[in-house]
Structure formats: C-alpha cells, structure tokens
C-alpha cells in the first residue's frame, strides 16, 4: 500500500517551529510522506497543499494561544475545497490561561477537528492514534474522538 501523505504546519502568525519540526521528522520516520509547510502558515495554505498533494490528513500546530481565532472555519475550508472527509488533527498550546482540557478539546472538536491534542502529548501517542484512525477510515469507519485516550487519561490525572 502507498504511504499516506500528511500536511503539517504551524497556523497563523505563529513562529514556533521547533515542535512542529520534531513532529514532522517523527512522522517521516514512521513511514508517512510529509509535506511540511513550516511556521506562519495561513489556514488556506494547508488546504491548497492538501489538494495538490492529495493528502490523507492535515496536522495543524498552534503554540501561541491564538488557536481559537486561527482555526475557526478550518473544516469549512476543507469542505469548500472538496475534502469534506479529510482527517484533521490539531495540537499545541491552543488557548491562553488555565482552562479545563475537556472543555478546550470539545470546543475544537466542535469546529470539526477529528482529534485535538493537549500540550505535552507524546509523539508515540500521536502515531498510534493516527494509525488507528487510518485503519478505521480505510474500513469506512470513524473512531469516536471523545473516547478515553492515553493522553486524555494522563491529562485527566492533573488537578
């Protein structure tokens, strides 16, 4: 089977590139074809890159606390571009201040992201989830994003 193609990048006016580079490298090592857009990427550029490369998933990073503004309408853009079913992941420091993770996650899931990852997520968790999601998609199924996951359990342990 052909390697899945993933688009990665840091959305909005956000210059934090290091974590995204580490993620992109790890994804490549895991056998994915990675189209890395890097820092300061407008939402529309993720979509354009995904169309041209026929990507299977888009992995959006946001580290500077403005994720809520930048990510609004992201799924709508995908739908508009004819990719209503593309898998989209989001991770990073999505909001400012201390907010309960479950609420934050729900807010972004409601925007149409398939998975939302908190700060401190381990790469292995992302890889495992991605693999499971792809297996489910290839069978024509969808996994429930709200089911307990390793990172959610770890996060849930915090006060």
């Amino acid at each position: 089977m052909q390697a899945k193609t993933l688009v990665t990048g840091v959305i909005g006016a956000d210059t934090h590139i290091v974590g995204n580079r580490i993620l992109s490298t790890a994804l490549e090592k895991a056998g994915y074809k990675v189209v890395a857009l890097g820092a300061l990427t407008p939402a529309g550029d993720f979509i354009k890159a995904a169309i041209e490369t026929a990507a299977d998933a888009i992995m959006v990073s946001s580290l500077y606390g403005q994720g809520e503004i930048d990510c609004r309408g992201f799924r709508d853009l995908c739908v508009e571009a004819g990719m209503e079913d593309i898998l989209i992941y989001l991770g990073g420091n999505l909001v400012v201040g201390k907010q309960p993770w479950r609420e934050v996650e729900q807010r972004f899931l409601a925007m149409g992201f398939d998975r939302v990852f908190p700060p401190g997520t381990r790469i292995e968790d992302v890889l495992a989830t991605l693999a499971a999601d792809f297996v489910a998609r290839d069978r024509g199924e969808r996994l429930d994003a709200t089911l307990p996951t390793p990172w959610a359990t770890r996060q849930g342990a915090e006060p």
């Binding site: 052909q2 193609t5 006016a13 956000d14 210059t15 934090h16 074809k33 189209v35 890097g38 820092a39 300061l40 354009k48 890159a49 169309i51 041209e52 490369t53 026929a54 990507a55 500077y64 606390g65 403005q66």
Partner: protein, 489 residues
C-alpha cells in the same frame, strides 16, 4: 574572409536581420524588412537580406543562420493546472519562460465554458499540469478527458503528476510528456517543460505558422523571440563558462502591446526572513498584458491615473485624452510632435515602474506574539547588479536613464525588493535576441556580442535618436554603425 553568422528575428511588424562577425563578436551589419508572415515569410526576409548585403558589399557564406520568431501572434499557449497558486502558477511560469504568449490560464476542473474558450482561442500548444508526483490524480485526468472530448486538436504537453501519466496517455493519444513542473510540494522544476515547449515550437509550430518556408534561407528557426531574449540574458548573467558574467540582472522591455520583464539570478532570503509562496525561478519572465505603449496605452493611464501621466508629460488632461484617442485610432503610429514624444516617455516610465514592481517581490514586517518577523514574498531583485532596457521608447529617448530609473525601488518604500543600485544599460541594437540565438553555436561570441552592444544609459544620445520616427531605422546603416558610444566592459 570573415567568419560570419546570420541572425534573424521574425517580428510582428519587422523582419530584423543581423550579421555578426564571430571572431570580433561584433554586429557588422543590421537591416530590416517588413514582416510578411501573413503571405510568404521569405519576401520580407529577402528584402532585409538584400539591404544587409548591400551594406556589407557582398553576399557572405554564413557559418550559421538562425532565426527566432514572434510573428503570427507569437507562441500562443494555454496552461492548465490544479491549485491556482501552485501547479497552475508553475505551469504559467514554465510557459512564460519558454517564450510563450499566454492566451489562457486555467486552474481546477475545466468547465464546459473553459473548454469552449480554449476551442475558440486555438492555442499553438496546451500545457496540462496538476498534482504533485504521487498527489492529486483526479483533476488532471478529468481535464484530459475534457480536452479529449473537445475540438482542440493542437499539441498537448503534459507536465503533471507522474502517477496519472499512463491514464492521461490513454485518454489523449499523441500527447507529449515531461517531468512534473512541481514534483513535490512547493518545488518548482520548470526547465524540462520549457525545453519540451521549445522543441514542439521548433518541430511543429514554425511549420504550422509557415515560418519554416524560410528554411531555404536559414538553417533553422529555433526559438520564440522572448525565449531568445531570456537565453541572451541568462548567458550575459552567467558568462560563457558559467562564472564570469555580469551577475544577476534584469531586462525590461516595454513593447507595443505588453511589457516584458526578465530577471536572471537567485533570490536569496536573508537569514531570519520567512519566505512565503512558490520558490522563484533562476530565469524568470513576466509579461504585463495591460501595459503596452500602443495597444494598451489607455490601460497604463488607468493604472497610474490620468493626472500623473499628464503631469509627467507636461501636458494637461484634455491633451492627454486627445493623444490617447489618436493612438487608439492608429496603433502603428509613431510619435511626431514634442507632446507625443513626452507622452511616450511618460507612458514608458509608468509601464516600466509597474512591470518591474509586479515582477519583484516584497518584504514586510509582521507583528507576532513573539515579536516582529520579516516575511518575504516573490523574487528579491534588490542586489541586482545590472538593469538593461530595450524597446523603442527606451532606446530612442534622449535620456534613457530617466526611463530606466523608474524601475528602481522607491527609496521611500521599505517593502520593495526592486533593484536598488544597478548599473543602467541599454540594448539599442536588440542584441539580446541575437545573443540568445548565437549562444546555440558559439557561447563566447554570443556573450561578447551582447556585452559590446550594451551601452551605458547615461551616455549622450547616439545617432539613432533623431530617427526615432522609425524604430530600428538603422536598416540602411551597415558595418560598424553602432560603435559611437563606449561599450560595456
């Protein structure tokens, strides 16, 4: 006995011929005849050759006889890609770099209306792109089907997703394939498509347009004229061995219908600067279809404002509109009165300023939560060492420098990546096309030819300025006619 090459340009109005002494690398004779592509292209060529040989005093045996052509509408192309800013843009750049005149550019799925437009404008070549290698296949296959079902029967060159090549070949038999213009995301590889387009031009288009009738008088018509100019510019920048040329340079050519800008050189981004958009080609050509001294004089005025154009020409707006009406009524018209000359220079400055500004990139400072970040888009021309002007309005101006200076970055504009302090030169003899052609047979002579022909833009006006009423009026001048001002060393 001199070692001579004959270089010919079949233009839309003139057939220009140049005899070049390969040992001295000098133009020893220039002449022109009418463009007779509509009837028999050899008539105008014979006419020009008779004048050339009269000037030379004999009919030499040429070592090479090469031609370029922009006659019969030029190389008319349509490009098709997927995402407008990605493969569709890469396809456009490949076609422009091959010297084409774009008569249509499409992105995403071709609709029935798009196909009807393509059928109606009947391009000489269609370039079909879309998808990175291993990327999207659906759109290029859909577009191949749409073209197969259409009445368009001209050549199709495919430079898209290689995974779709076999299927596209089945849908469009006889199609020519080459490497993808965008093999992976945001990587441009337009050279294979450029080469393929030129090959099709030489093998098929010159025949279709009746240009190959000149084959008895020429060895070959090898390039579309703009491609010859771009190759001349590339040679001039790199030098005959690749590292001894003039360095990064820009050529600006305000013509009757369009303004062409060619730039040769890398586009380095300073460290700490974030680059957005497609990478820039080393040899880049842009064509501004709305900036032309004759066919598009009114749209230059529209872009810059009637008041500014009139003020720069020293006339009032009513006079401006009267002169524009006169131009619109007769686009072949050459300036006669002082006002007409002044207006031409004002239009020329405006066209040059806008065309180079659009060709060049920008750099801006974006405020982020982490502090200011500099973001660069497009090609950085700020360190370009040489700016060359060509075309009637520049070379016939009493002070060409005044026109060329319009291309420089505005000192008050911190965002511009336009040329800052280049040496200003003019190509009065249209030597760049000749140099680009000659490069096929003798790179050193071709390089020396261009270098000798370029003149400093500040030099006093030469003997041709008083004959501005007929562009290229040197037709009757012959040997050594263009050696009045010091050449560039």
């Amino acid at each position: 006995m001199m070692n001579l090459a004959l270089l010919v340009d079949f233009g839309s109005t003139w057939t220009k011929v140049r005899a070049v002494d390969l040992d001295q690398a000098r133009v020893v004779g220039s002449a022109q005849g009418p463009s007779t592509v509509a009837t028999d292209i050899t008539i105008g060529l014979e006419h020009a050759l008779a004048r050339l040989h009269a000037g030379l005093g004999h009919v030499p045996r040429y070592r090479a006889r090469l031609g370029s052509s922009s006659a019969a509408g030029g190389l008319r192309m349509v490009t098709v890609g997927l995402v407008r800013e990605l493969t569709a843009e890469a396809a456009r750049q490949a076609a422009l770099g091959a010297g084409a005149r774009l008569v249509g550019s499409y992105a995403y799925r071709l609709t029935r209306a798009d196909v009807q437009e393509i059928e109606a404008c009947r391009p000489d070549i269609l370039l079909l792109c879309g998808g990175t290698d291993g990327g999207n296949r659906d759109i290029i296959i859909h577009n191949a089907r749409a073209l197969a079902a259409s009445a368009y029967a001209g050549p199709v060159i495919v430079a898209g997703n290689r995974d779709a090549a076999d299927e596209v070949a089945g849908i469009l038999p006889g199609t020519l394939f080459c490497a993808n213009v965008m093999p992976s995301f945001n990587v441009l590889d337009t050279d294979p498509a450029r080469a393929r387009i030129r090959e099709v031009f030489m093998n098929r288009i010159v025949h279709a347009k009746g240009i190959d009738r000149a084959r008895g008088l020429l060895d070959d018509v090898v390039l579309p004229t703009p491609a010859a100019v771009l190759e001349g510019a590339e040679l001039l920048a790199a030098g005959p061995t690749g590292d001894d040329g003039l360095g990064p340079l820009v050529v600006v050519d305000p013509g009757g219908a369009t303004t062409d800008v060619h730039s040769v050189g890398e586009s380095p981004a300073d460290s700490g600067v974030v680059r957005l958009g497609l990478p820039e080609p080393h040899a880049k050509r842009t064509v501004e279809g709305d900036l032309g001294m004759r066919h598009n004089a009114a749209s230059i005025v529209e872009s810059c404002g009637a008041n500014a154009i009139a003020a720069a020409a020293g006339i009032d707006v009513a006079q401006l509109h009267a002169l524009l009406a006169q131009i619109a009524a007769d686009v072949e018209r050459l300036p006669e009165s002082a006002h007409e000359h002044a207006l031409d220079r004002s239009l020329g400055r405006a066209a040059i300023r806008l065309a180079v500004r659009r060709h060049a990139g920008t750099v801006e400072t974006v405020q982020t939560a982490q502090g200011p970040v500099r973001v660069q888009r497009g090609k950085d021309l700020s360190r370009v060492a040489t700016l060359i002007g060509t075309g009637g309005v520049i070379v016939h101006a009493p002070h060409p420098r005044e026109l060329l200076e319009a291309a420089l970055a505005d000192r008050g504009d911190p965002f511009s990546l336009g040329p800052r302090e280049p040496r200003l030169l003019i190509d009065r003899d249209y030597a760049l096309f000749a140099s680009g052609l000659l490069a096929r047979v003798d790179r050193r002579a071709a390089y020396e030819l261009a270098r000798h022909a370029l003149r400093d833009a500040t030099s006093e006006a030469s003997e041709v300025s008083d004959t501005a009423a007929a562009p290229d009026a040197r037709s009757t001048h012959a040997a050594g006619s263009s050696a009045s001002s010091p050449s560039v060393s």
